[in-house]
């Protein structure tokens, strides 16, 4: 390959979903104080891109679609060591589902190709922790005609000159070893690497770096009906807290000793479900022989 390797990592700023609570009285999401973070899965993608840059040179661009506050996440990505950051932000993107999101991002990726050179590899995390859909990556790959490699646990080999790539992909019941060619879209599996810590020089540069900010027009989106709510075929009609089960647990009174309690518990289980008793004895009997 004559051009240096160009990786683009798509990240998303998400609420730290572990911190989200539904109010017990009002049944509404309590958003106050829920911090926003870089989607944790995206960090594996970013680190993998940085490792490829360490090995083969080139540049790593991070791209994020979101509100203006997402600049914080992009700056953090720069602190980790990315070379440049692009924020795609426009009120017309509000309410995008996976289809509308992959459209907007693919348009931004085309703009990145025009301004900074075509991406050889587009990275994303395997999914986000707020939506959990794992559908935006495949959507982008399809729109841009990139080879799609999801749930990648390892990049085994890359020949940047010939563009050949061998990866390990997490499949049901095992690992697929796939060979393909650049350009590709890779969604990285969690645990495949560990995010580095940027040096003081990188951190200082990141603190002072300029984040490129594009709106819909800047990436060449003319038809706004393809964006946001209007461009989303799915419609959220109802949001609700999971209802309580009508019947509460039948309580087994604790006995004087743990041993007595244990027998009371077993009696209760077998009483409710004789089948499990039979199954247990059968398995135990088989194990004896």
């Amino acid at each position: 390959m004559n051009q240096p390797l160009h990786s683009v990592v798509c990240i998303k700023q998400v609420p730290d979903s572990a911190q989200i609570r539904v109010h017990p009285v009002t049944n509404t999401i309590m958003r106050q104080g829920v911090p926003t973070i870089i989607n944790p899965y995206d960090l594996f993608a970013l680190e993998e891109a940085l490792r490829l840059r360490d090995r083969f040179g080139g540049k790593v661009t991070v791209l994020c679609m979101g509100p203006m506050t997402a600049e914080d996440s992009l700056r953090k990505a720069l602190t980790f060591g990315a070379d440049r950051a692009v924020l795609l932000s426009d009120r017309y993107f509000a309410g995008s589902d996976t289809l509308a999101t992959s459209y907007a991002l693919s348009m931004a990726l085309l703009q990145i190709a025009r301004e900074f050179g075509a991406p050889d590899i587009i990275f994303t995390g395997k999914q986000t922790i707020d939506g959990d859909t794992a559908q935006v990556g495949p959507g982008i790959a399809k729109r841009l005609g990139y080879n799609q490699l999801t749930y990648i646990s390892k990049i085994r080999d890359l020949d940047p000159d010939g563009g050949a790539l061998v990866v390990e992909r997490r499949a049901e019941g095992g690992t697929q070893v796939l060979q393909t060619k650049l350009p590709v879209l890779i969604t990285m599996l969690e645990g495949s690497n560990e995010m580095r810590r940027g040096s003081i020089e990188t951190a200082l540069a990141a603190a002072r770096a300029q984040v490129t900010i594009w709106n819909a027009a800047a990436v060449g989106i003319e038809d706004l009906t393809r964006c946001g709510l209007r461009g989303s075929p799915t419609i959220v009609k109802k949001v609700f807290a999971p209802g309580a089960r009508s019947e509460k647990a039948a309580m087994i009174g604790a006995e004087a000793t743990p041993e007595a309690s244990a027998h009371a518990v077993i009696d209760a289980i077998f009483g409710r479900m004789p089948a499990i008793e039979a199954q247990l004895f059968e398995t135990a009997a088989q194990a004896a022989y």
Binding site: Q19, R21, H23, P24, V25, T26, M30, Q32, G33, P35, D72, T79, R197, G198, S199, I200, E201, A203, L204, A207, R208
Partner: protein
């Protein structure tokens, strides 16, 4: 600490820490055109910071006059309740005034993680460079011992500047380990715990008789601290209640209480429990508060360095003030650096002494001086102040208010007797005398 040959400074000043004092210092210097680097170990400004929290408008107004326009403020305080508590009751002095519903309110409740984030965004907008998630590990000095820069836990080369403002908080490791000041002592520092209880805003307003953004502050002392020197508090935020309790660390060591056990029993006090009922707890925090007062203030300046905020023990424990002292010391340190920079004068110990001199002229030093005897007094007399008197006051109140066929004269006699028997006239006179003397 490493010693280095003087290098070209990269910044006019480095601020260690992004709490109220560090943000104030960095903001003022950056606004005045200095090239400032601020270094914060948290994920963002506020992520390591804990406070009750009440914001005193005056100190911030002197730095950012229009802060009310976009700062994340919870409620402005219109009512202050001072409670003396025994195990089952409280005797309160409440002051509520519509005057506090003024155009520019005097006190606000805030959530520090959010407020500090806002303040720091202003710091960056003023032109300062801010490094997050970076811990300063040591000061760099030249051969003469003058501080000329810092090293961080990101390794690499040191970052150089003619002056370092240490706004590193109560556990200020950099300054303490560099020998700039002594360790904080267990007898002059309080361990405070706090929980965030969330409730719908309508519930809070109904429970505390509030409307709009009005807020209530409760400060409590008495048997809630089980004989230890300390206070409890409860502040109303927009849709949450901050509830907490703190005692001097030495007392904790001597006593038999766990801090969280103390907080639990405070929350379950019959006067507090109904105020929190049905809430969802979303955070549990603990922090040290330097309460040594005037006598604990360390050396505040030296060749190439200044100390501000909690690191300099700037807390008025009697009036529960701290963040305003932090901001004021940060501002005055910054003004000192700005002035010296403009005059192209060295950041020497002699020149930086202006900082301490100017502080003497402010409420910061005047108040701390006024109360310099109080911390010792309360600590020394903790059995009376946090046990005997609160119990006596509660008993007296109950005797007085309970209608039970006993004539009023006998009641008065019983109340006086109970005080005398518990502490003795001499003891009470002595306590009163010492308190008045310490207060003056």
């Amino acid at each position: 600490m490493s010693e280095m040959q003087a290098q070209e400074p990269q910044f006019d000043a480095i601020v260690v820490g992004a709490g109220p004092s560090g943000n104030a210092a960095a903001y003022v210097m950056a606004s005045e055109g200095l090239n400032v680097l601020q270094i914060e170990r948290g994920e963002y400004s506020g992520s390591k910071n804990v406070q009750g929290a009440i914001l005193y408008a005056d100190a911030l107004e002197k730095i950012i006059p229009d802060f009310r326009e976009d700062a994340p403020l919870e409620r402005h305080v219109i009512e202050q309740r001072m409670w003396t508590m025994d195990d089952r009751s409280h005797t309160g002095v409440h002051y509520r005034s519509d005057d506090f519903n003024e155009e520019k309110p005097n006190r606000y409740t805030i959530l520090r993680a959010q407020f500090d984030k806002w303040f720091n965004a202003r710091v960056r907008a003023a032109g300062a460079t801010v490094l997050f998630e970076t811990t300063v590990t040591e000061l760099v000095r030249d051969l003469s011992g003058k501080v000329i820069g810092v090293r961080t836990d990101r390794g690499g080369n040191p970052i150089m500047a003619p002056v370092v403002v240490l706004a590193e908080g109560v556990n200020g490791l950099v300054g303490q380990r560099s020998g700039l000041r002594e360790e904080v002592k267990p007898g002059t520092v309080a361990l405070a715990l706090k929980e965030m209880h969330f409730l719908p805003r309508e519930v809070i307003e109904a429970r505390f008789n509030l409307s709009g953004n009005e807020g209530v502050v409760i400060e409590a002392m008495g048997t809630i601290t089980k004989g230890m020197t300390g206070t409890g508090f409860l502040y109303t935020n927009e849709e949450s209640i901050s509830v907490g309790i703190g005692c001097i660390v030495d007392d904790f060591v001597e006593g038999g209480e766990t801090p969280y056990g103390l907080l639990e029993s405070f929350k379950n006090h019959p006067s507090i429990k109904p105020l929190l009922a049905g809430s969802e707890i979303k955070e549990y925090a603990a922090h040290l508060i330097p309460e040594g007062g005037y006598r604990a203030i360390p050396q505040l300046y030296g060749d190439g360095w200044l100390v501000v905020g909690d690191a300099g023990q700037f807390v008025n424990a009697v009036h529960r003030e701290g963040s305003n002292l932090a901001m004021t010391t940060g501002r005055i340190a910054a003004e000192t650096v700005v002035m010296l920079t403009r005059k192209r004068e060295a950041m020497s110990r002699a020149n930086l002494a202006i900082f301490a001199k100017r502080l003497e002229e402010t409420f910061v030093m005047k108040d701390l001086k006024k109360y310099k005897g109080i911390p010792g007094l309360l600590h020394g007399g903790k059995a009376q102040f946090f046990g005997t008197y609160p119990r006596l006051i509660s008993q007296a109140m109950q005797t007085w208010f309970r209608v039970d066929g006993v004539d009023k004269k006998s009641k008065e006699g019983a109340i006086l007797r109970s005080f005398r028997e518990a502490r003795g006239w001499r003891g009470m006179m002595g306590d009163a005398f010492r308190l008045v003397r310490a207060w003056r």
